[in-house]
């Protein structure tokens, strides 16, 4: 065991480094989101003359006829629908692909791996969406988010299904449960820990996604929260206070999630990575 003074030095050093490396950027954002335009353009970390955080947030929210609120609504809807699709489709797929071993198994495993590794083909996807007549729709956005997160979620469900004994399936079958009752009444409730992990992790990832909406969800009324922030970058290039106020607003949802689900997020991420 380490001696007490040594431990104290180690603790103080850790806090100090964390304060500089991680604390200053956050402090900087909050501070500059509270300044007026002139002060914020100096980009320093002195305190503002007048604390204008609420006014700045108000101004951001009312910009462009409330585009930020529309964007919030869109981002939340996309995240929500994608999660429903993900949880339903991937739990079913993960369960059956873990339980069955036959000729299709290596194919399924390869497809899951391919989905984890291969980058999405951008322009062909747009072409496909246009041919189907669903380009720039929320439906296509949800499907793409789901398709791109699918491998990871299926893998997590597959891994967790392996810990559920087959005897449970057999008992339910003997009692006369068909495949649907077996899955939805018996297995799905048992998969709850994985479902929770997937909901928390994927909601953060989909909410923060910038690349896919940039390509597949363009257009003024299709704003998502990350696209709006990106557009503000060129629009408010001289009003850093508003830019930082927007940064602050969109950091709140993940922050709330993190405060409540800190443990699940961290352990889920580690579990997913090690199984993957």
């Amino acid at each position: 065991m380490i001696s007490k003074p040594k431990r104290l030095i180690s603790e103080i050093l850790g806090i100090l480094v964390a304060a500089i490396v991680f604390g200053i950027p956050f402090y900087f954002v909050i501070l500059n989101a509270s300044k007026n335009q002139q002060e914020a353009s100096l980009m320093n970390i002195s305190s503002p003359e007048k604390f204008l955080l609420l006014q700045n947030i108000q101004e951001v929210l009312s910009a462009d006829k409330g585009i930020v609120l529309t964007a919030f609504k869109n981002s939340i809807l996309i995240t929500l629908f994608s999660l429903i699709v993900l949880v339903l489709a991937c739990s079913m797929a993960g369960f059956v692909s873990q339980r069955r071993t036959d000729k299709a198994t290596p194919v399924i495993n390869f497809l899951i791996l391919a989905g984890l590794i291969i980058p999405p083909a951008i322009v062909p996807t747009i072409w496909l969406l246009m041919s189907l007549g669903i380009f720039k729709t929320m439906f296509s956005m949800v499907m793409i988010e789901a398709a791109l997160t699918m491998s990871f979620s299926t893998l997590l469900y597959k891994g967790f299904t392996a810990t559920i004994p087959r005897e449970i399936d057999e008992a339910a079958t003997v009692d006369g449960a068909g495949p649907f009752r077996l899955f939805f009444q018996i297995i799905f409730p048992l998969l709850k820990p994985t479902t929770a992990t997937i909901i928390v992790l994927s909601s953060v990832n989909i909410f923060n996604d910038f690349v896919n909406p940039l390509y597949f969800f363009p257009g003024a009324k299709n704003a998502t929260i990350q696209l709006t922030l990106y557009n503000f970058m060129s629009k408010y290039h001289s009003s850093w206070n508003l830019l930082f106020a927007d940064v602050l607003i969109i950091t709140i949802p993940p922050l709330i999630l993190f405060i409540f689900f800190n443990r699940q997020i961290i352990s889920g991420m580690a579990a997913g990575a090690i199984k993957g």
């Binding site: 380490i2 431990r7 180690s10 603790e11 850790g14 964390a18 490396v21 991680f22 200053i24 950027p25 980009m43 970390i45 699709v85 079913m92 797929a93 369960f95 059956v96 069955r100 399924i108 497809l111 791996l113 590794i117 980058p119 083909a121 951008i122 322009v123 062909p124 996807t125 496909l128 296509s140 499907m143 789901a146 398709a147 791109l148 699918m150 491998s151 079958t173 495949p179 923060n208 910038f210 690349v211 390509y215 922030l229 990106y230 970058m233 850093w240 830019l243 930082f244 940064v247 969109i250 950091t251 922050l255 999630l257 993190f258 961290i266 991420m269 580690a270 579990a271 990575a273 090690i274």
Partner: protein, 288 residues
């Protein structure tokens, strides 16, 4: 069992996931090979053979993406392994602040990359930025972090490390926590110090965690787009362009065939690096 298997574990359950995956991921991926050989405006195409690929390798502004993507992926990966492991060992030691610090290190990973990019472009401002102001108080003239062609890519890599090291750390912590304390006790009896503990126990037994971090960081690094786009947009000039940002630039200027060729190159590059590494690392894990 096989009769029951067919009934109770129906392949119908794979259908929803399979269909979405096929239509929205696999089909575009496969058709990209064809479209990369065309000049294309989304409705009509002319087959032009390997012209797009030739152009990609002939033009400096395009081929640079190759080199940069390599540098970016391998450097972020290496740094995340080194820093992540170091942080994990520190955050597994008997300090009272460890839970708090773990949360602090991990949190940047949950913030939007665009927000991180905006914040750091401001912090890295050459004359007024906080980083250079702080450096100047101790008598160092800081460089133009994002404007100097020699270090712009490295600056973005550093920010990527800042944002992403938390995931690596968390994975390493999980790996280290699963090591039985008996090994450490045995080494202590044999008179080994903390460096010996790290070298002979922690490092070899964290192997699976290291493999995971390497694969995740490499794949992430090869495909990355939002950080570079929000910080430099590939500039100054095109010196920090990655394959992903070139794909976007060609797409937004309407060169869809060329953009798709870039996509195919990225596809092949990621596969050529990730699949073998995945195989090698996973086969080693069995030996352990």
């Amino acid at each position: 069992m096989s009769f029951k298997q067919r009934n109770q574990y129906s392949y119908f359950f794979l259908l929803p996931a399979g269909m979405i995956f096929f239509i929205f991921f696999l089909l575009p991926a496969i058709s990209s090979f064809f479209f990369s050989l065309t000049r294309w405006n989304l409705t009509d195409w002319t087959f032009i053979g390997l012209e797009n690929f030739k152009m990609f390798f002939a033009e400096d502004s395009l081929s640079i993406g190759f080199k940069n993507t390599f540098i970016y992926a391998f450097l972020t990966c290496g740094l995340k392994v080194v820093f992540g492991l170091g942080l994990a060992v520190y955050l597994c030691s008997a300090i009272r602040t460890r839970n708090f610090l773990r949360a602090v290190v991990f949190f940047p990973n949950l913030i939007s990359t665009i927000a991180v990019g905006i914040t750091f472009s401001s912090l890295m401002h050459p004359t007024r930025g906080v980083i250079n102001t702080m450096l100047s108080t101790i008598g160092i003239t800081g460089p133009d972090w994002l404007g100097n062609v020699k270090i712009a890519l490295l600056s973005v890599i550093a920010v990527d490390l800042w944002k992403g090291v938390g995931v690596a750390t968390v994975i390493f912590i999980a790996g280290i926590m699963s090591i039985s304390t008996q090994y450490y006790e045995a080494l202590e009896i044999d008179g080994g110090g903390s460096w010996a503990k790290f070298l002979h126990i922690t490092l070899p037994l964290s192997r699976p965690a290291i493999n995971s971090v390497i694969i995740l960081a490499l794949i992430g690094g090869l495909r990355t787009f939002d950080l570079i786009w929000s910080m430099t947009k590939g500039g100054p000039g095109f010196t920090t362009d990655l394959l992903s940002s070139i794909i976007y630039k060609q797409y937004s200027s309407g060169f869809f065939g060329l953009s798709t060729a870039g996509n195919v190159i990225l596809f092949l590059m990621v596969s050529a690096i990730a699949f073998p590494i995945y195989k090698i690392l996973n086969s080693r894990e069995v030996d352990l």
